[in-house]
Every structure is written in structure tokens, then in C-alpha cells.
Symmetry: C2
Subunit: 359 residues, 2 copies
């Protein structure tokens, strides 16, 4: 594949080049790191939004509404559905479901389900790289849906600029079920299916868990049944000193942000405008506070470490003779005459020896 | 910590040494690889059983019954609960729930929830190592419960000698929900809560999905409401040529094994004896067919590869100056002047250069 042509195609915003580049990256085929390297200077304009939550929370419907809302505002959106996931949730891939009439022909929308099987060096790393391609291409918002709620899926959602945790009244024991660490990753909480019994109680539970004081209960932004483009306003009485309620305190979203809890009914489109407003405000807050630079710096550091580890692994298993050495020593390991640790360290030493001898 | 004393303690079957060794391994503290290396020759006696399935399937209750059944037969059992997991399932850790009166004081039972946070080199690798310690200690059966159903959790369960997939009638769309690849990993299917509506239909669906022909429907081993220690017997009429119904065909469990579907009511203990019988038969089949050696060989190969990758990563980030080099180059990466790929490859080259110069 002509990787220069791909890079040029991305810069010219050719959709065919985009699709082919993403495939190249997903499959770790020859030259993919070169392409990503070339695109790097163009990365960093998009707002990356991670959306996670249990199966059945209505994430896909919510995302469909978000996409529509962004498009109404003239903003381009890419959706990456990462699905390394519960084989039990029964959900079809987002990509399959969301290819709806309303946006499928809109060039301002791009939807992609991650092919995670061939991912070299881990799904999280490859997801970041696919987002980089979409970012370099020029999509203004990138929504990363993790269809699955293992620790790695959570980490993927949390590595976005803004992270949305979607809950529903019927998620069993409500927030009791949320383990330590989960609440911390979310910048915005959504209680979807907000017209069902228990929705208000769940909102309250989340707020209690967030340690929001009673006097600050305005932080619960109620969904309007006739949503407007207006950002949600807290009740006058609850606003202290005219300050913006979301620009004080400090929480997971960086300095100056306390995660709000938003009630939505995604099926009916209720709350989508509010959610987009919140996300825009979160991004703005991140930008102003310097939190965005910190997030991106940390993301790039983590990515560089992953690329190093991947390169070292390739040195042994692809370029070096690690696999042959492994095969040669495996009998002794299987029969207990040698430990896997001894064999592993022999392989590492061999690699160093080979390099030292300039082989 | 005196690692020689730990190794000696394990060999003398001292429970305090066991607990401390597992902690050492989980946290990747100094000397853990040495201890594992010393223990390697003693590893390989245990039958490792992975148990996976969606939250709410009753895995913990089933495991409690399995433990009791094994103990009645005089067999020692360790349980490792891996929980890198859905923060949404609301399940308490198995370890917390299963510390029941019936077995908590029994020295023939050991229950441990994996601490996955500190795991160096991934949860799957550390889980294997903890199982190795339990194996070397002398536990005859090791049950690995993955509380969570992401791809990595599934892989952990599947790396056991025998893998049990636990389903329940209420798991939504039944087997329609099971993605390709999940059916293949299970050696035994359990339909738990088998007294609920839809249980029989789920059993049938699984069998259809397994491609079991109608004439072979005897492979559905119905749970007895008064379970006995007898292995379940297929109806005479359905046994072809007197052959054992589970020793023909070929499926995931290695040559000579077709995964049976067992209905259980774990809460009432129904089916636990049958499940233990099936697991014993599966292990015997694996042993006879050579499948066991193949599984273990592959497991050791995978483990050696993981240890190599971990050692290389340590070389750069712990022993080498990778972190300092990263920090020095990160500004250029953040501001788009250098790509993370260039920086990563510089770090790898530096490492090689340093080694070449005998530093």
C-alpha cells in the first residue's frame, strides 16, 4: 500500500483514504507507524468524548441523538465503537445499529466499529491511533463508545478528553453497584431512560455519591421534555454569588469542574441538547484551566510508552529469533527442567548479545 | 522478604507462606520471579477450571457447591476470583461472598480474590502465576472465576484446562447474545437457575448452536432433583454402539470431547455432582488424548512470551532511563514537532546503544 498516498489522502479529506488508513492501523500492516507519524502534527484539534456504561443503558441511542445534535450545530462527528467486550450483553455492534438513515449519507459523520482482533499492542493503543487518524482528518468531535465494561474498556473511555458515564434506573442496585474508581472517571453522569420509575432516585444516589451537598442540588440538570438549544440553567435561588455552578470546586474533569448529573430519555431525544451543551462547557473549562493540555500530555506519554513496549516486543518476536528460541527451550519448560523465567531471561539476553555483536 | 523461606514454606504446605507468596506475586515485589522459578518443577499437578459467564448467572453459588462437592470426595480446591471487571454488575467479590461457614475453616479449601491493581504485565499473566503457586502448594483443583465478561476476562477463563460457561434463562436474548468465539471456548455449558421458565429452551438453543444433531440430544444431561454421586448416564436408546457419548466427535475440549449442556439449580445444590463428574471426565479425556499436554505447552509458551515482554519493558522503564528520555522528549511531541513514534524509536535505539556500549 502506498502510505504516502494515504497521508496525502487524509490531508485532502478523502473518505476512501480515511477508511483505508484506519484499516492499515487496525491491522498493524507495514508502514502504519510511518503514516501515524506523518499525521501527528495534524492531531489535536478534535474534542474526544468517551461514553461508557453497562449494556442496555441506551448508549447507542444516546450517541445517535448526540450525532444529530452536533450536526444541527454544523459540527462534524466521528464515532468509534470499541467492542472488546462482553459477549453476553447481546448488543449488536454500535456500528451496525447506528448506521441509520438520518446520518448515513452525511459526509460530516463517520462511524466505525473497531476491529480489535488484529490490534498490535493492545486495544487501547490501537483505539488511540484510530482516533488520531480521525482527528488528523479533521473531525471536530470524536465519540468513543466502549461497548463493554471491563477495566480495559473503562480505561479507553477515560482516556478521552471528556468521559460520560451512562446509567439507567434498572441497572440493578443503582450506584451501589458502582465500584470505587468508576465514579472518578466520569466528567458527566447521564441517567438515561429518565422517564422510568427510579430515575430520580438514581440521580439523587449519584449526587450523594459524588458528595454534592444538599444546597448544591441544582447540579442535577433536569431534562426538559421540550429540549431547546439553551444551555440548562440552574434555579436562580441555588446559584451562589452569580458564579457558574460548574466552574467551582474540583473534580475528575480537571480544575473548575464538578461532574453534573443529567437525566435523559434518549429514545425521545430528551436531553441530547443539554448533554451537548454540557460537553461543550466541559471542553471549554478544560481548555481554560489547562486541564486539556495535561490530559493530552499524559495521553501522549502513555502512548509513547506503549509504542516502545510494542517495538521491543516486535524486536524479539518478529525481527529477532525469539520464537525459535522459545520453541527450542519449551520442552525443558514443559517437563519442569527449566522455568519459563529462565527461558525468558535467556531470550532477552540473547537479544542483547545479538545487538551487541552487531548482528 | 526472605524468598527462600517462602519457597520452603510452600513446599512444606504452610498456609502463611502461601498467602505471603501470592501477595508477593500479585504485587510484583522483589524476588517474585525467583520464587516462581523455584516452584516451577512442582507445578502441573492441579486441574485448572475456568468458570465464566454473565453477572447474575449464579457463578459464585455454583462454585460454592462445586467446592463442597469436591471436598466430600476428599479433593482439595483453591478458588481464584479474578475481578478486573464490570464495575456495573454490582456483584460483591466472590471472595467476600464465598467465605461461608461450611468451608472457611477447612484447610483443604483456599479462596483468594486477585488484587489486580498492582499486577505487573497484565492480569492474565499474574493470574497464571497465582495459580502456579497454588498448584505448587498442592491444591488438586484450581477454580478460576472471572467476574466479568470482557475479552480479557474470557481469555483468562479459557486458558484453564477446562472451561465452564454459565448461562441463565434470563440472560436476555439467550444464546443469540453470545458472540462468535464464546461458544468455542467452553468445554462444558451450564444452564443455571434451571428451574426457571425458559431454562429448557435455553438448553435447546445452546445445543442447536453447538450443532448437536437431534439424535444426539442425550448430550443434554438433565439435572437430577436428587443428585447422586453417580455420573449422569445417557438414555440407553440414544447411546450409539455402546460408545461413551462424550468421547466422540471433536470440539473445543480437545479431541474426543463434545461440550455437554448441563442444567443446574446451584442455589439448591442441584447439578453440582453432575458438573464435578463432567469436569473429571473432561480432564481424563484431555489427559488420555494428549490434549492436556498441548494446552499446558501452549500455556507455558504464552507465559514465557509474557515474561519476556515484561522483562523488556522493565529494562527500559525501570532499569534504563526510558522515563527520563520520555520526559525530555515529551514537549516536542505535545507541540507536534516530533511524533510519539520517533520518540519511542529513539528510546529503543538508546537502549540498544547503551547495551552495545556495555553500560
Amino acid at each position: 500500500m502506498d502510505t504516502d498516498a494515504l497521508v496525502a489522502g487524509i490531508k485532502q479529506r478523502k473518505i476512501a483514504a480515511l477508511a483505508r488508513t484506519i484499516s492499515l492501523v487496525e491491522n498493524g500492516r507495514d508502514g502504519y507507524e510511518g503514516v501515524l507519524s506523518e499525521l501527528h502534527a495534524s492531531v489535536g484539534q478534535a474534542h474526544r468524548i468517551g461514553i461508557t456504561g453497562p449494556g442496555g443503558a441506551g448508549k447507542s441511542t444516546l450517541i445517535e441523538r448526540l450525532v444529530t445534535t452536533y450536526r444541527k450545530r454544523g459540527v462534524t462527528v466521528a464515532v468509534v465503537a470499541v467492542d472488546p467486550t462482553s459477549p453476553f450483553t447481546g448488543g449488536a455492534l454500535l456500528g451496525d445499529r447506528i448506521r441509520m438513515e438520518s446520518v448515513s449519507l452525511d459526509p460530516g459523520v463517520y462511524i466505525r466499529s473497531m476491529a480489535t482482533r488484529g490490534a498490535v499492542g493492545g486495544v487501547a493503543t490501537t483505539t488511540r491511533e484510530v482516533c488520531d487518524v480521525l482527528d488528523a482528518f479533521g473531525f471536530e468531535r470524536i465519540i468513543i463508545e466502549t461497548v463493554g465494561v471491563g477495566q480495559s474498556e473503562l480505561a479507553i473511555a477515560a482516556s478521552a478528553d471528556s468521559t460520560v458515564l451512562v446509567l439507567v434506573p434498572e441497572s440493578g442496585d443503582g450506584v451501589q453497584a458502582l465500584k470505587a474508581g468508576v465514579m472518578e472517571i466520569a466528567d458527566v453522569f447521564v441517567v438515561n431512560k429518565g422517564d422510568r420509575p427510579g430515575a430520580d432516585r438514581l440521580v439523587q444516589e449519584v449526587e450523594v455519591m459524588l458528595g454534592i451537598r444538599r444546597g448544591n442540588a441544582y447540579r442535577h440538570v433536569a431534562a426538559h421534555h421540550h429540549p431547546t438549544a439553551q444551555p440548562p440553567q440552574p434555579p436562580e435561588s441555588a446559584v451562589p454569588d452569580g458564579g457558574s455552578p460548574t466552574l467551582e470546586g474540583g473534580a475528575s474533569g480537571g480544575p473548575g469542574w464538578e461532574p453534573p448529573v443529567l437525566k435523559t430519555v434518549a429514545r425521545e431525544g430528551v436531553g441530547a441538547e443539554d448533554l451537548v451543551d454540557l460537553l461543550e462547557r466541559h471542553f471549554e473549562t478544560l481548555f481554560q484551566s489547562g486541564g486539556l493540555e495535561a490530559i493530552r500530555r499524559e495521553r501522549l506519554a502513555r502512548h509513547t510508552r506503549a509504542v516502545v513496549d510494542r517495538a521491543l516486543s516486535m524486536l524479539v518476536w518478529e525481527e529477532g529469533d525469539g520464537e525459535a528460541r522459545l520453541e527450542a527451550g519449551l520442552d525443558a519448560v514443559v517437563h519442569g527442567r527449566m522455568s519459563p523465567y529462565k527461558l525468558a531471561h535467556d531470550i532477552v539476553s540473547d537479544l542483547q548479545q545479538a545487538r551487541r555483536n552487531g548482528e
